[in-house]
């Protein structure tokens, strides 16, 4: 069918099956990949376009319905001369785009509103944007950008030496607000074959494959385990336990069994029941209790007791010290599987180029991908090229392989480009999750409220495969006593295999789960002694000069006390307001809670170096070659700002080459809040290196000023001005490396696990509907010691986005295999759930970090759930032992509490 319509103001025609989704027609046939697809089910709003000036999900519109109508997409927002619309400029200036995958949908939804209501209120903005999910920003800056769209906000253009600390617009922002940024599914060659993965419907079982020949006749290939040269992958060099394609045994629902490779229409037309697989399901091992039961079936045959690993930290004599405590509090806390729910599903494509394989993919870790693909495909690492596309959110979930080995193997065998894009439910079923945890915590303090002893055991459900389980189980014991000075510590972490989805890396590596436990206990101890909850924490806060439980002396940059001091006036105001509200006797009750955290930056007691390069070409092109992948958090911009000031030229003069393993050096993975601290320090060193070379060439002193115009580099040293003609010097390259100094932890967990730590405290104000058990978070004030805010807008963005995820962890997110594998049963916070957030940045410089900066990627999330849950306790007396605290769970706890109170009074 031929469809004639108006597309961004211009007549357009399209031909194809009329049932084709508008989103698919725009992206696949009309070349407008600015419209993103996050779910194909109307649940996420990423594909929002205007149809006759009304916002619709273009994944829910048939092309047959578009005849004669007007379609507007993000590509039509800017003027024909490229001038950005005011709304787009406002998104840039406010930092409203992080990864950018929801940005086109947000922009189109806001456009509908602003045409009708040029100066909307916050409620109107929320109503208009309520149908678009964002997982990065916490919505705060998006709301600000829409509210401020009518006013033009100046764009910061810092001069040489002034980039660090400036609210520089993100260097990749223009592409994100115009729809031109290319994500994993956006640049697939038209002639690529497609993969559809056939997955296990069973959590545990065996299977045999029938005759695949009929399918193979319809397709280019049907890949099985036999086609995988080395059929095991995993994060750790000695634990390659996850098959690319299952070999007769499946260990979780959603595990990959077969890859159908062929023309897109052909692979999508084959239903799972046409694939000859004979299943023999077995009763799955689900949950920690099942995995640790006597005679529990083994998830992996060579893993006795289903144990992945365990270990802990011992300092002093905790068991003995409890005896002398004036107050002791303890409790057990449980968390669920949590889904990353990045709005961009896993996607990528591969191409064989001679004896090399090139994989374009959305990833957080191109160099680990390169080495893992080399291992799986039995190639040398130099024969693998990973080209990261823009990454539409990661949060730890794109640290593990997804489509990479499948497209790589298929493209290698078939010698044709091969693509794979996960569906939303496939993304949710197949990829890693946050570890469910059961944490038993016991703390004791003296009569002044000084902590004396702590004993915390954290047991994790690591799912079917190891993934990042060891990282979680190692990191948590170091952090489980919280950001406090505790002389006698015993902490323990252990992870068990189950037939759940592989639990992997998710923003915080287990620390958010542990924080729920230690912060609840801090509240209880403070309450027992009648000490204010904030002051109790302030009394115990780790400070510079203190020794941690691993025996590390914190020489610098331990700013928790400053964070708490900054929160003090907010804490008092919030408590006054809550008390005044509660005095009215409404059925709604307000509460105020506080959560604290610390977080070691980078790998735990393991080398995690970064290498950065800056090139200055004979033509005068200044390029930062960064292997650090920007997954939305802003490292492209942060690295540029740091490099610019180290070198002494304006950030605006930098071009950027990022991620490509052929063109950059290894800057490690984007995880563990390490890029600003580790790669940033390498970028700083690279800038210094290039500067030294230039100063030597000009025979100039260290304070000389540089300027670059075309191929002419001018060096001003006091009165002396020297011009360097770059055409004659050849390419200048500055290089820098950094590997944070750590030491291994001994059998008692003693050593230096991290070179520096981030600290933070957050206050949550909530309103609880006592009758319904619903919780509305009214406001969050977040104070974070970031060492130095390289770019305050981006730092706030990380904190706000982390808070939204922490709110989800506390109140609504629970992944249940087979039951919440979509974005309408699995709930993440919408624009209406995230409250106003105030960020307070504390800058207690870390001497090792670039300009004193530490990381902030994960810390934003960690204190949020504890603060919210503490506020719920304040409001209701209910201490949540299990999250998410869904309305029915809170209501049940309230009833139990009331019944207990009645019994207690003898009624």
């Amino acid at each position: 069918m031929k469809v004639a319509f108006t597309l961004n103001g211009t007549a357009a025609t399209w031909s194809g099956p009329p049932v084709t989704r508008l989103a698919a027609a725009l992206r696949d046939d009309l070349g407008l990949t600015g419209t993103k697809v996050g779910c194909d089910a109307g649940d996420c709003g990423a594909c929002t376009v205007l149809l006759d000036a009304r916002q619709v999900c273009s994944c829910l519109v048939a092309m047959g319905q578009v005849e004669g109508r007007s379609v507007e997409t993000v590509e039509g927002l800017a003027g024909t001369d490229g001038t950005l619309a005011l709304l787009q400029k406002s998104f840039l200036a406010h930092g409203a785009a992080q990864c950018g995958i929801c940005t086109p949908g947000m922009l189109m939804a806001a456009s509908e509103l602003l045409r009708e209501v040029p100066s909307p209120g916050r409620d109107e903005v929320e109503d208009a944007l309520g149908g678009v999910l964002c997982r990065c920003t916490g919505y705060t800056k998006i709301v600000d950008a829409v509210l401020g769209a009518a006013q033009s906000m100046p764009m910061v253009a810092p001069s040489a030496g002034a980039a660090v600390g400036a609210r520089l617009v993100r260097v990749d922002g223009h592409a994100k607000v115009t729809g031109r940024d290319m994500f994993g599914a956006d640049g697939i060659p038209a002639d690529a074959l497609w993969i559809r993965v056939v997955r296990s419907p069973h959590a545990r079982g065996r299977f045999t494959l029938g005759d695949l020949a009929p399918l193979r006749r319809r397709l280019a290939a049907v890949l099985t385990a036999a086609d995988v040269p080395f059929n095991g992958f995993g994060i750790y060099p000695d634990i390659k336990d996850q098959p690319v394609l299952a070999d007769g045994v499946v260990r979780y629902r959603g595990e990959a069994v077969l890859a159908l490779v062929g023309e897109r229409a052909a692979v999508l037309s084959i239903r799972d029941d046409e694939v000859p697989i004979a299943w023999a399901p077995e009763p799955p091992v689900l949950g920690i209790d099942a995995a640790t039961a006597a005679n529990a079936p083994l998830v992996q045959a060579d893993r006795p007791k289903n144990l992945l690993l365990d270990g802990g930290v011992r300092h002093g004599d905790a068991a003995a010290a409890f005896a002398g405590c004036a107050a002791v509090a303890e409790g057990v806390f449980e968390t669920a599987f949590v889904e990353h729910a990045y709005v961009e599903p896993e996607a990528g494509w591969a191409e064989r180029v001679g004896d090399r394989i090139e994989i374009h993919v959305t990833t957080q870790t191109p160099y680990m991908d390169r080495d893992e693909i080399a291992n799986v495909m039995r190639l040398r690492p130099e024969n693998v090229r990973i080209v990261p596309t823009a990454c539409g959110g990661g949060f730890g979930g794109k640290l593990d392989l997804s489509v990479q080995p499948l497209v790589g193997i298929a493209a290698w065998l078939l010698k044709r480009p091969v693509a794979c894009v996960y569906t939303r439910s496939e993304s949710m079923a197949a990829t890693t999750k946050r570890h469910p945890a059961r944490i038993s915590a016991k703390f004791g303090c003296d009569f002044t409220g000084k902590l004396v002893a702590c004993d915390v055991s954290a047991t994790f459900d690591t799912g079917a495969y190891a993934s990042w389980g060891p990282t979680v189980a190692n990191r948590v014991p170091v952090h489980a006593m919280g950001p406090y000075a505790v002389p006698h510590v015993r902490t323990w972490g252990e992870a068990f295999f189950t037939n759940g989805p592989p639990a992997g890396a998710f923003r915080g590596f287990g620390v958010p789960q542990a924080a729920i436990a230690h912060e609840a206990i801090m509240d209880e101890l403070a309450d027992k002694l009648g000490i204010d909850r904030l002051e109790f924490r302030h009394r115990n806060a780790l400070r510079a000069g203190d020794t941690t439980a691993t025996g590390q002396v914190l020489a610098h940059s331990a700013g928790l006390a400053q964070c708490l001091e900054a929160l003090r006036p907010h804490w008092r105001r919030a408590q006054d307001e809550a008390a005044a509200f509660n005095n009215k006797g409404d059925i709604r009750r307000r509460g105020v809670g506080i959560g604290c955290m610390w977080y070691g930056i980078g790998n735990t007691s393991m080398s995690n170096p970064s290498r950065m390069r800056i090139g200055l070409s004979p033509g005068g092109t200044l390029t930062l070659y960064s292997g650090a992948v920007d997954i939305g958090q802003g490292s492209n911009t942060i690295m540029t700002q740091i490099a610019a000031d180290a070198l002494g030229l304006p950030a605006a003069q930098f071009a950027l080459v990022a991620g490509d393993t052929d063109l950059t050096a290894d800057a490690g993975k984007t995880s563990a809040s390490r890029q600003t601290f580790v790669s940033g320090r390498a970028a700083e060193a690279a800038g210094w290196d290039l500067r030294q070379q230039i100063l030597r060439l000009a025979n100039a002193g260290p304070d000389a000023l540089l300027s670059l115009e075309g191929a002419k580099l001018t060096v001003r040293d006091g009165a002396e001005v020297r011009a360097i003609d770059l055409a004659t010097t050849g390419t200048l390259t500055g290089e820098g490396t950094f590997d944070p100094p750590t030491t291994p932890l001994d059998a008692n967990g003693q050593g230096i696990p991290y070179a520096t730590y981030a600290f933070a405290a957050q206050i949550a104000e909530v309103e609880v509907d006592i009758e319904l058990g619903t919780i509305k978070v009214l406001r969050i004030v977040a104070a974070h010691d970031v060492g130095r805010a390289i770019n305050p807008t981006l730092v706030e963005g990380q904190i706000e986005g982390g808070i939204a995820q922490g709110l989800g962890l506390a109140l609504m997110e629970e992944f249940l295999p087979g039951r919440t594998e979509n974005l309408h049963d699995y709930l993440i916070p919408t624009i209406g759930d995230v409250p106003e957030i105030e960020c307070i940045l504390i800058e207690d410089r870390a001497p090792l970090g670039p300009s004193g900066a530490k990381g902030v990627g994960e810390p934003g999330l960690v204190p949020t759930a504890p603060a919210i849950l503490g506020a719920v306790h304040y409001a209701t007396g209910v201490r949540a032992r299990r999250v998410p605290l869904l309305p029915h769970r809170l209501r049940e706890a309230l009833i139990k509490l009331q019944e207990g109170a009645l019994k207690g009074t003898g009624a």
Partner: protein
């Protein structure tokens, strides 16, 4: 690849249904059920039929065209009788879904959690159904027969929803309980229409959704309200025994016990909200 027909006249649509077609209107339920696979069934797109669209009124009542969208409902100039349906419309999905999803689609999808169903139940709605040979009217409570099941025959189409004009002043209201704001499937919902005479309830229609396979009227509660003064004490007339028609289940959104309890809260608040 299946057929795709998009007629502009109702008669053409009805004759197309001589053989089975999947009916497509707003697409908000159609496409989510077809993610990641080829769509090869025969489709009847009823989105271009003017006769199915729009809201009109007569002395006897209102006719809501089958493909009226939630946004059109929200924006329509209608008396307070429709306030509950409008409140529900604002709570359905996000603005995108409201702009595309249709009233009849919500009914034909027959989800236990359909926000539109209890609202139309308390409006005493009749469903106008047509085939190429006949038309008939079915009361809504007989139209939806179970989870994802309706009385619609394969050759039939919902043409309109008819809402009778109450004899007296009438108002309605709706309350939804969900675990987040926007884009949320109801844990429970409650809606009421009260007909008012001399400051007293002359007639009441109450319905609850997401607490049974099909949204249910609470006739015992309705009876208990008749004659009551229209003030906040209305809420006190709600009694747990009134929930007898409900059969809530445990699911990912909430427990059966919680649903029972929260419906009582919703009903009390809903009724208290009618007080002047």
């Amino acid at each position: 690849m299946g057929d795709y027909v998009r007629p502009s006249r109702l008669e053409e649509a009805l004759s197309a249904l001589a053989r089975p077609h999947t009916v497509l209107a707003g697409g908000t339920d159609f496409y989510p059920a077809r993610v990641g696979r080829t769509i090869d069934e025969d489709i009847l797109d009823i989105g271009a039929i003017p006769a199915l669209r729009g809201i009109s009124s007569a002395s006897t009542g209102w006719r809501l065209g089958a493909t009226t969208t939630w946004s059109e409902m929200i924006e329509a100039d209608l008396p307070p009788l429709f306030d509950g349906l409008k409140q529900a419309a604002r709570e359905i999905g996000g603005r995108q879904i409201q702009n595309a999803g249709t009233l009849a689609g919500n009914l034909c999808n027959a989800s236990p959690a359909a926000d539109g169903v209890p609202c139309l139940l308390v409006l005493d709605a009749d469903i106008e159904i047509a085939s190429s040979t006949a038309t008939r009217r079915v009361p809504l409570d007989q139209f939806i027969t179970g989870v994802r099941r309706t009385a619609l025959m394969p050759d039939e189409l919902v043409v309109a929803i008819h809402v009778p004009r109450p004899a007296r002043e009438a108002r309605s209201a709706f309350l939804k309980l969900g675990a987040r704001r926007y884009l949320v499937i109801s844990i429970a919902m409650a809606t009421a229409t009260l007909e008012i005479a001399d400051g007293h309830v002359a007639a009441a229609r109450i319905a609850v959704g997401s607490c049974s396979a099909v949204a249910q009227r609470l006739v015992a509660l309705e009876a208990a309200l008749v004659g009551a003064r229209l003030d906040r004490q209305l809420a006190a007339r709600v009694d747990p025994t009134h929930l007898e028609p409900l059969s809530p289940i445990d699911d990912v959104r909430g427990s059966a016990g919680y649903r029972r309890e929260s419906v009582l809260v919703l009903l009390r608040r809903l009724l208290a909200g009618f007080a002047p």
